[in-house]
Amino acid sequence: MQTQRPNALFRNLTAKIAALPMIATALFVFVGCTLWTVYYSFTKSRMLPSDKWVGLQQYERLWNTPKWQIAVENLLIFGFCMMILSLVIGFVLAALLDQKIRFENTIRTIILYPFALSFIVTGLIWQWVLNPDFGIQQVVRDLGWQSFEFNPLFNPDIVIYGVLIAAVWQGSGFIMVVMLAGLRGIDEEIWKAARVDGIPRWRTYVFIIIPMMRPVFVTALVLIASGIIKVYDLVKAQTNGGPGISSEVPAKYVIDMMFGNQNLGQGFAASTMMLLSVAVILIPWAYLEFGRKKHG
């Protein structure tokens, strides 16, 4: 955009003033609080922030703690599955709904409504549906299949998938809407051309439509990924990290340390690790997005 006219400075000034709240948010809240957090991760802060410097001690302890190791492992499993499942389910559902099927509005609403519910509510509902004494397991057993075993929330090996079921239920509808919107934005001519060339429908989706929807996938990815790294309420409400410590996640470790252990330094060390991993992914993305191609 060519705003560099002689009187552009004044206009830019208005824009800058208008953008001040955003700049303040970015600088004071996000950058400021992040730096604050990083600084105190090198201290021996307990219940209240303190300046007693201990170097990397908090980080050493962090990586020697089984709870943190399990939390990181869980986040990787959960994050990977959540990413794939949300994208696949979101896209497939959107493609199905895009077939001009009947009751589209009803179906879309049914798939989308869980997004209106908070994670705490989601956790509660699925805790209840997956409860071994009342929920799915008992219902199937009552139908006559006595040996049926489906008790993810009390089985340490698969509990994270129990959380995953609930997370996908809550979030995939929104991804579907984003995908559907993307599909609706594809030019009719593309489909016609593909049909004329006799390309099977699934190939059209995989090789033509999906590459065209790159921006949609990027938006969806940002939405999913930011949700994954922040996952806390759901685990807190559904399993509270249990059984044992088998469904711990990093965000929960941070909170537990800050307020349960009253060890701010340790909590900040854990959150610094989380922020670092976000930055590692985000900075190359921002470079690609803004560094090379120029809009307008």
Partner: protein, 412 residues
């Protein structure tokens, strides 16, 4: 922003003066929300309502200390504190006191002679920092109990056991009758507490003191502790099918006879009372697992964050004094199932189990709570270790023992 601040400050002053005329509204924050707990708070607030012009505004936050404490600490450090807030006995609030955020109650304590009437005195010591008193101990909660369902044992056709070994022997019969022998919920402090009780019962009081008070890691590595871990291994096998989260839902399994026993502090008694069960008939309590009868003097205390308004300060001191009064102590503790902090009151209406507790307390066989001995950080690390131990069979007793020893080495 400064103008905004001034306006806000002005409006607060207006509110405060308006409130002073009709008594101060005291916001009291706590995490007592289960049936028995809520009844106990009501008893306390009722006593306060009768004796005072000021008003009790209840700020209950459900979900236990881990949900409530972030709120409490944020509010206090944020400069908009409540007027009174619950913490456990011990070191949870020590930094807030050090930072000068809490009201000094020394004049109330001295005027009323708390030190003479409190029993045991160690409770007041926990409240004291640099010679000044900063909190009111309100009750004594002891972990050292096991609760058993008479119905479950009757259904299994075995007698109600009199100690841990008999209980272990009767477990197969319970299992055969479709009962969970030992119920342990999924909250981390439950597993941690169950282990502590086993430690005191099997390893003895001196071992406990050596570990927590002296922070002797070699004691953790010793043979006596190996035995304790073996017992804990038995306990985790007996509790494998608990499938329950909250402690009071676990207690409910004892109440309705689905499970044989629960190792839980005396607050479980409040649940039996709400369910109108009778000690000795419907359920049996076993102090110290029938092997080492002691009372652990954990429990709750109230702290009063500092406020500038003298009316508020006066009201806070009044509340502190009422909480320590005989009347409030009796009313509150009978409902809560906990023991009073005063040695000079008549608890004749207490039931069987509570009287057992009072007798042990009178005999002086007491032990501090782990929260009094170690920091919240170490305490929570212990909880993480034991909730993992109880749920993950692949964590061997030897590994768990070594990890506990390391935690004690690093403890502060």
């Amino acid at each position: 922003m400064r103008r905004l601040k001034a306006i806000l400050a002005a409006s607060t002053v207006l509110c405060a003066t308006a409130a002073a005329a009709e008594g101060v509204k005291l916001e009291v924050t706590h995490w007592w929300t289960s049936g028995g707990e809520a009844a106990a708070v009501k008893a306390l607030a009722d006593v306060f309502g009768e004796k005072s012009q000021n008003e009790w505004v209840d700020g209950a936050i459900a979900g236990g200390g881990s949900t409530a404490r972030p709120v409490m600490i944020s509010r206090i450090t944020g400069g908009d504190p409540m007027h009174a807030t619950q913490f456990n006995h011990g070191r949870q609030a020590e930094e807030l006191v050090e930072a000068g955020l809490m009201l000094d109650l020394t004049d109330v304590a001295e005027a009323e002679g708390w030190r003479d009437t409190i029993n045991p005195v160690s409770l007041l010591d926990s409240c004291t920092y640099e010679g000044k008193v900063y909190c009111v101990p309100i009750n004594i909660h002891s972990w050292q109990w096991m609760w058993m369902s008479n119905k479950a044992f009757a259904d299994a056709g075995v007698a109600v056991p009199a100690n841990w070994e008999e209980f272990v022997a009767s477990a197969p019969a319970l299992e055969a009758a479709g009962k969970v022998p030992l119920v342990v919920g999924q909250q981390d402090w439950q597993a941690r507490g169950a282990f502590s009780v086993l430690l005191v019962a099997i390893g003895g009081t001196d071992l406990w003191l050596d570990i927590y008070a002296n922070k002797n890691a070699e004691a953790v590595r010793g043979d006596a502790m190996a035995k304790v871990f073996e017992a804990a291994d038995t306990a985790r096998n007996l509790s494998a099918n608990s499938n329950v989260g909250d402690w009071n839902l676990a207690t409910a399994k004892i109440i309705n006879g689905e499970a044989g026993a629960q190792i839980m502090g005396d607050w479980a008694q409040g649940e039996f009372a709400v369910a109108e069960k009778v000690a000795g008939e419907d359920y049996t309590c076993l102090p110290g697992l029938g092997m080492n009868e002691v009372i652990q003097t954990g429990g709750d205390a109230f702290y009063f964050p500092k406020h500038d308004d003298p009316d508020v300060t006066a009201a806070q001191k009044e509340l502190a004094s009422i909480m320590f009064s005989r009347e409030a102590q009796v009313a509150f503790n009978l409902k809560k199932g906990s023991l009073p902090v005063r040695g000079d009151i008549d608890m004749s209406t207490a039931n069987d189990c509570m009287r057992k507790g009072l007798d042990i307390l009178a005999s002086g066989n007491v032990l501090p709570s782990s929260e009094q001995a170690i920091s919240q950080d170490t305490e929570q690390q212990m909880r993480d270790l034991f909730i993992e131990f109880f749920n993950d069979k692949s964590l061997s007793t030897a590994d768990a023992q070594e990890r506990m020893a390391q935690l004690i080495e690093q403890a502060d």
